[in-house]
């Protein structure tokens, strides 16, 4: 086990930002911390990074209290742009790498590698303030892991990125895990990205953990209650058992079931009439679960 959060609470006088938080992350795992704005994600990150003290509880890295750990094993990408606006891209990366104790020979090699991978060759000598938001995000991301930390925290890494750059970033995250065996903790409001990258996650609501565990376990709690049907029949006028909600979007019916056991009965009803193009029973998406858990949009 790499990171262990044990009964962690953070209070500011009368306000509790994080309450009795518990989770752990295995070495080489990508772990998602999700929650609405103000749920306590950034506070949790700051406590892990020893930028803020915990009010109660302990945080361990490899069994050692986090404040005793060499800070160079940590990498951090803050939610907002955190680079020096007047510094050139290459200078900036060199500075962060040197600050993290990298050897000069390795710095040049690694900067070249990541600049090429993130398609920043033309911007190498440009000042950070002249870059687009997306490119600034890429530079900041490289700066956060150029020193190959053992544990990388990414706070909203996908914000401000277009789909192409988002894909580049996802590939980079997977690369870091697979080649460097990096342990990665990240937060995102884009649940599809969390689903795509995370093995396990923790769901926060107003500082309280609603769920901590594998994504599959979370989905299993809801069961396979998302039923998609494409048919020429009009399902809206039919009486179907166990259906909580039905919506027609671009020729497909999306049904939310009370339980997956109702699916065979529904299949029996709709297959009696006409040809069915699609009948698919799935787990809810993380986005739907998130809305249900923290947003009050019940499915």
């Amino acid at each position: 086990m790499s990171l262990k959060i044990e009964n962690v609470t953070k209070r500011y006088r009368n306000f509790t930002a994080v309450e009795n938080l518990n989770f752990h992350i295995e070495k080489g795992e990508i772990f998602g911390l999700i929650g609405q704005n103000g749920a306590g994600k950034t506070t949790t990150f700051r406590m892990i990074l020893d930028l803020q003290e915990t009010t109660e509880g302990k945080i361990y890295w490899d069994g050692q209290p986090i404040h005793k750990v060499n800070r160079d094993i940590l990498g951090y990408l803050p939610e907002e742009r955190g680079i020096f606006p007047h510094m050139k891209v290459e200078e900036q990366l060199y500075f962060f790498a040197e600050l993290r104790g990298m050897k000069k020979a390795d710095i040049k090699k690694d900067i070249d590698f990541w600049i090429e991978r993130f398609e920043l060759e033309e911007k190498r000598h440009a000042k950070a303030e002249t870059l687009s938001k997306g490119n600034q995000q890429k530079v900041q991301l490289i700066a956060s892991f150029i020193h190959k930390p053992k544990f990388l925290i990414l706070d909203e890494p996908f914000s401000g990125l277009d789909p192409v750059n988002m894909d580049l970033l996802k590939q980079a995250i997977l690369y870091l895990r697979d080649t460097e065996n990096m342990t990665i903790l990240f937060s995102s409001h884009q649940m599809n990205n969390v689903e795509e990258l995370c093995d396990r996650l923790c769901l926060l609501k107003r500082g309280v953990s609603l769920f901590s565990g594998s994504l599959l376990d979370l989905k299993k709690q809801y069961g396979k209650t998302r039923l998609t049907i494409r048919t020429a029949m009009s399902l809206a006028e039919m009486t179907l058992p166990g259906v909580k909600d039905i919506q027609l979007v671009k020729g497909e019916y999306f049904l939310t079931l009370e339980d997956e056991q109702y699916a065979p009965a529904i299949f029996g009803i709709v297959s009696r009439g006409e040809y069915i193009e699609k009948f698919s029973l799935d787990y809810l998406t993380l986005d739907e679960i998130f809305k249900d858990q923290v947003g009050g949009v019940h499915v």
């Binding site: 500011y12 006088r13 700051r46 990074l49 930028l51 803020q52 800070r71 160079d72 940590l74 990498g75 951090y76 990408l77 803050p78 907002e80 742009r81 955190g82 680079i83 020096f84 606006p85 007047h86 510094m87 500075f95 962060f96 040197e98 600050l99 993290r100 104790g101 900041q140 700066a143 956060s144």
Partner: protein
């Protein structure tokens, strides 16, 4: 290389390459060159190559006053036989000014004429000329022997200051003048360095905080290392600027006019004991460090760089107060106000050197003030460090008091 040195070196190189540093240093150098070559520049614009102004004199006394008026760099004298010629000459522009001299009850009386109103300096110089002439004229009336005349004219007293209390040192007037000049220079240096670099350190910390670069930095380095690197990095930049300007000044004094100005400065420096320079250097360094520490702390309070001026204002007011107290001490460095401010840490650096140089005081007094300043710098450094750790990642709105309250609220 340690993280402290990486931060310090990066900051130092960045600031040295920055436009504001280059522009400010260039401006100081231009100012120094202008000051050193002022007489040449003046000549260039006036084009008169120091030609003395012609002063016409009509002598209405019975004495031969010609020996009393000796031509110098400012004035050359011409004599007319008729009083009416003065007015005509002035109208034609032949004379710069004119003196009509007469004798009233044994005293020299003078009317000073000019076509246009004279400037303050010219008026003052002409008045001085007439005053000294009237003294010579009065002596001339006494029919003294040449030896007696020489004795009267060479009547400068031989003054020696003697203090009975053996513990009190007694400085000569020359020493006090040298001390005053040296202290004034030290005060001006402190003022300029603080005014320039206080804003640099405050905006630098504020800019890093505002751009969130600080969050990335503080994952790697502890706040105290970051704080220390800022204070000493900017201090080094200030020392570098001071050294560049000092080197240029040295070159100008040493090599312009065959080193005449350099000899003058060396004479001035030679008037004061080495202990004076040690004290001034210590006050200079500690005062600049004190203000840089406060600047870094205040920079950590703001959430964005635009708010820097808001937090800098109180510190700026402090340094301006110190400067004006120092200026008031130029006319009289022995006042109670000067004495009190020479012990206050925020003003001591500018006021105490003046007292050391220009007044007779026991060495214990500047030593105590230095000790107070040193203790204050150490205490403020400690307090700032502790506060910096809390404030540097706290973002808030409102005035400076509100910001401090927020820091305590979210970190305790």
């Amino acid at each position: 290389m340690s993280k402290f040195w990486v931060l310090l070196r990066t900051l130092y190189v960045q600031k040295l390459k920055s436009k504001p540093f280059i522009i400010m240093t260039t401006l100081y150098i231009i100012g120094l060159i202008g000051f050193t070559f002022w007489s040449d520049i003046k000549e260039l614009f006036s084009g008169d190559e120091n030609t003395p102004e012609i002063i016409a004199i009509y002598n209405g006394t019975a004495e031969d006053i010609k020996p009393y008026f000796v031509d110098d760099v400012d004035f050359a004298y011409e004599y007319v036989t008729q009083a009416e010629e003065l007015e005509k000459g002035l109208e034609k522009g032949d004379y710069f000014a004119a003196l009509e001299l007469s004798d009233i009850e044994g005293k020299l009386a003078a009317n000073i004429y000019s076509y246009e109103a004279l400037g303050f300096k010219d008026q003052e110089r002409l008045h001085d000329v007439v005053t000294s002439t009237s003294q010579l004229y009065a002596v001339g009336q006494l029919n003294l022997t040449p030896e007696q005349t020489a004795l009267v004219l060479d009547s400068t007293p031989l003054v020696q200051m003697i203090t009975i209390n053996a513990e009190e040192s007694t400085k000569s007037t020359d020493e006090k003048v040298a001390g005053m000049v040296g202290s004034y220079a030290a005060g001006i240096i402190i003022y300029i360095v603080v005014i320039s670099f206080l804003s640099i350190i405050t905006t630098d910390v504020a800019s890093e905080k505002g751009s969130r670069a600080l969050e990335m930095l503080l994952v790697s380095v502890k706040p105290e290392i970051h704080f220390r690197s800022k204070v000493f990095g900017i201090f080094l930049v200030a020392v570098t600027q001071f050294s560049i300007v000092g080197a240029v000044l040295f070159g100008l004094l040493r090599f312009v006019d065959g080193g005449a100005k350099w000899d003058m400065v060396m004479n001035l420096i030679g008037e004061l004991p080495p202990s004076y320079y040690l004290f001034v250097t210590a006050f200079l360094i500690l005062t600049i460090l004190l203000y840089l520490i406060i600047g870094a702390l205040f920079g950590s309070l703001v959430s964005k760089v635009e708010e820097s001026s808001q937090v800098m204002t109180p510190t700026m007011i402090l340094i301006i107060i110190a400067f004006y107290v120092m200026i008031s001490g130029v006319s009289n460095p022995d006042t109670l106000l000067i004495k009190v401010f020479s012990y206050i840490p925020f003003t001591a650096g500018m006021v105490m050197p003046m007292r050391i140089g220009a007044t007779d005081m026991h060495i214990a007094e500047p030593a105590i003030a230095l000790l107070i300043l040193f203790a204050s710098v150490a205490a403020i450094y400690k307090i700032s460090l502790s506060f910096y750790k809390r404030s540097v990642l706290t973002y808030s709105t409102g005035g400076i008091i509100q910001k401090i309250k927020t820091v305590f609220k979210v970190t305790t």
